[in-house]
């Protein structure tokens, strides 16, 4: 037994040494994932971004990732490990990694960190997020045009600002087409529980919703929609394969351009700490193909997408009224960035309370 272990140690040591020799020439880029890369949602898209780095800069960088890292005491250790093992750039891809990222960053001033969806920065910590709500506005318009019942169902994960923002943008888009459009919301208290998401979708459909959209990470709701003959939208990634007849379009998170640009900046020595809140204009939010809808709806969706991309239109353009009737942005104004980032109120017309 002891001999075996000694032999094992020798072999492992040798291989570890050869590994670090490779790593010395190449920039090591580390990723921390909250879920498995195969969730076909949030983590899947981040992993697509990682693979894009490999494809574009594979001769100069090496990427590694750790999956299923819980947002507790383990996060700090995992980030530290990546930094200790020579990663020069580390992407931490969930909100809950914010404080651990900053703690580790303070100990490794030479390593660059990129934290997704957070708001705390440092000299070597950037933050980045996407204006997913731009896509939500577009699908809201499509929903209002295609719905017969005038009621949509929205499956939420947790009431954090990002999700609330999406709900509001969706309804504002829908109301721009049909001012009486109604929205029912069900929270499933999970990012990833297909059974619950499916149940929620069924309940919403039984209450008259004929359009289902969700801010959770699995494809369950889309599948239920397909089965029950109502329409749905994909979230985070293109989910057409799961609902070829029901899916109208998908909002796709595209991290590839950002990840390649930031990695290139580290390689060039031009990396500085920034805060990126990119949308369609920065190619961080894409719309999937518009399918299963009449030509006029498609034309409208394309026009809105083009206007948002060109910066001519903002989904939270006034007048925007809060649920309690107070004015959030007057005619000609846009809801300010601070309110967007910390959004904890619904717009008028949401059939739910926060």
């Amino acid at each position: 037994m002891k001999k075996l272990l000694t032999a094992a140690a020798g072999i492992a040591l040798a291989s570890a040494l050869s590994m670090s020799a490779v790593a010395a020439d190449k920039l090591k880029v580390g990723f921390i994932y909250i879920g498995p890369p195969g969730d076909h949602g949030w983590t899947y898209q981040h992993d697509q971004g990682r693979q894009a780095i490999d494809a574009r800069l594979g001769d100069q960088v090496e990427t590694v990732f750790v999956e299923n890292v819980p947002e507790g005491p383990d996060a700090e250790r995992t980030i530290t490990r990546l930094a200790r093992q020579g990663a020069g750039l580390i992407f931490t891809t969930s909100f809950g990694y914010m404080d651990p990222t900053l703690k580790v960053a303070a100990k490794f001033p030479d390593v660059k960190f990129e934290h997704a969806t957070g708001y705390k920065r440092a000299d070597n910590v950037s933050t980045y997020s996407s204006r997913f709500y731009e896509g939500r506005y577009v699908i809201g318009q499509i929903a209002a045009k295609t719905s017969k019942s005038g009621v949509a169902g929205y499956i939420g994960s947790f009431p954090i600002p990002e999700v609330v923002r999406g709900i509001n943008a969706f309804l504002l888009g829908a109301q721009s087409v049909n001012p009486d459009f109604k929205l029912k919301v069900v929270w499933v208290n999970s990012w990833f529980d297909p059974g619950r998401e499916a149940d929620a979708a069924k309940v919403l459909i039984s209450q008259g919703a004929d359009i289902i959209t969700q801010h959770t990470d699995s494809t369950a709701a889309v599948q239920v929609a397909e089965e029950q003959g109502v329409n749905a939208f994909g979230q985070a990634s293109d989910m057409e394969a799961f609902a070829p007849n029901a899916l109208l379009t998908s909002i796709i998170d595209n991290w590839s351009d950002y990840y390649i640009a930031r990695t290139q900046a580290v390689l060039d020595g031009t990396w500085v700490s920034t805060d990126t809140f990119g949308g369609m204009d920065a190619n961080m939010v894409n719309m999937g193909p518009f399918v299963n809808m009449p030509a006029d709806v498609k034309a409208m969706a394309e026009a809105t997408t083009a206007a948002i991309t060109a910066g001519e239109f903002h989904p939270f353009s006034g007048p925007v009224y809060k649920q309690d009737g107070s004015l959030a942005a007057a005619e000609g104004e846009v809801v300010d960035l601070g309110s967007l980032l910390g959004m904890d109120w619904y717009v008028q017309g949401v059939d739910d309370k926060l």
């Binding site: 498995p36 195969g38 969730d39 076909h40 899947y44 169902g153 029912k184 919301v185 069900v186 929270w187 499933v188 208290n189 990833f192 529980d193 297909p194 059974g195 619950r196 998401e197 499916a198 149940d199 929620a200 069924k202 309940v203 919403l204 459909i205 039984s206 209450q207 008259g208 699995s218 494809t219 369950a220 599948q223 239920v224 089965e227 394969a241 799961f242 059939d351 739910d352 309370k353």
Partner: protein, 306 residues
């Protein structure tokens, strides 16, 4: 389809995996064995079912594979607890742990792939009957299997010689042994049956409920099934009632949310657990209910004297 039909359909779908897993465990416990590994057997059933259905394209082959996956795990449990007489609680927990890990490994290649759905039964004329047609004649096949199994188990335990033997073994393994029954063999058979229905419950998740494979997709349903067995006081009829009650509370919680009543969603999500605890209290308080069918040698290993 009217709203009430839709609700009942949703409740049935939510309850069926619980009923399937629990009916097997009921038989296992009646034979005096406590298998806490339902969650692990179920999740293995889910992954085996999905994988086989995906590779072969046949949902029924998937169901078969799910049953085999569940049985394989249960036989491992049986080998440890019956042949090696290990602690049943600890072994059950180990089965759960192993099942969750192993299913993740097996399933890593199947995450994010569209699955094969087990088609609904649709009897041409009957399933179009107003009000009851869809509910009675238009379900997916496993719903009928779950109800059929419940009836069969009830009959088996109450009226057949086999049922008598299982109950005897569960009541007092020493007496059953003295009467010449092969205690260990009976228990092995019951454990395997429990594995089969747990696997079937897993198949229900990955082939009917949400036809896809996702790690830990059982999400604690195995434990609920376990609670239902105690709740039922080891009677199949009450078990079915309990399963539908639990599914009902769960779905109505979602329903209350969609109505926009403004109750915190965490509170609604915890209702089924609170309801389970309360139900357990009610059942346990009533001695007459709980003691009469409780297998007296539940959880004890048996070694024949020689």
């Amino acid at each position: 389809m009217s709203a009430y039909e839709a609700i009942i359909l949703t409740i049935i779908t939510a309850s069926t995996p619980l009923l399937l897993a629990a009916i097997g465990e009921l038989v296992v416990e009646r034979s005096g064995v406590l298998n806490l590994g339902i969650e692990g057997m179920m999740v293995m059933g889910a992954v085996c079912g999905f994988a086989a259905a995906h590779v072969s394209g046949s949902a029924w082959l998937g169901v078969l594979a799910a049953i085999m996956g569940g049985v394989a795990m249960s036989l491992l449990f049986g080998f440890l607890t019956q042949t090696l007489i290990t602690n049943q609680v600890a072994t059950g927990l180990a089965i759960t742990l192993l099942g969750l890990g192993l299913s993740g490994l097996i399933g890593s290649d199947f995450v994010g792939l569209p699955g094969v759905k087990l088609a609904n039964v649709s009897i041409p004329w009957l399933s179009e009957l107003p009000y009851v047609g869809r509910l009675v004649f238009g379900q997916d096949p496993l719903v009928y299997v779950s109800i059929g199994l419940t009836v069969a188990v009830a009959y088996l335990l109450k009226y057949t010689r086999w049922g008598l033997i299982i109950r005897a073994v569960g009541q007092s393994h020493t007496s059953a042994h003295a009467l010449g029954y092969r205690v260990i063999a009976v228990r092995y058979a019951c454990i395997a049956f429990g594995g089969a229905t747990s696997g079937l419950a897993g198949a229900y998740l990955s082939l009917v409920y949400t036809p896809q494979w996702i790690e830990n997709m059982t999400a604690g349903r195995g434990w609920i099934a376990l609670a239902l067995v105690v709740f039922s006081t080891w009677l199949p009829g009450r078990l079915a009632a309990g399963a539908y009650l639990f599914g009902g509370v769960w779905i109505l919680g979602l329903y209350a949310q969609a109505m926009g009543l403004g109750i915190p969603s965490q509170l609604l999500s915890s209702l089924p657990y609170v309801a389970t605890i309360l139900a357990l209290v009610v059942i346990s308080t009533n001695r007459r209910l709980s003691v009469i069918n409780t297998p007296a040698s539940l959880g004890q290993g048996f070694v024949p004297d020689r």
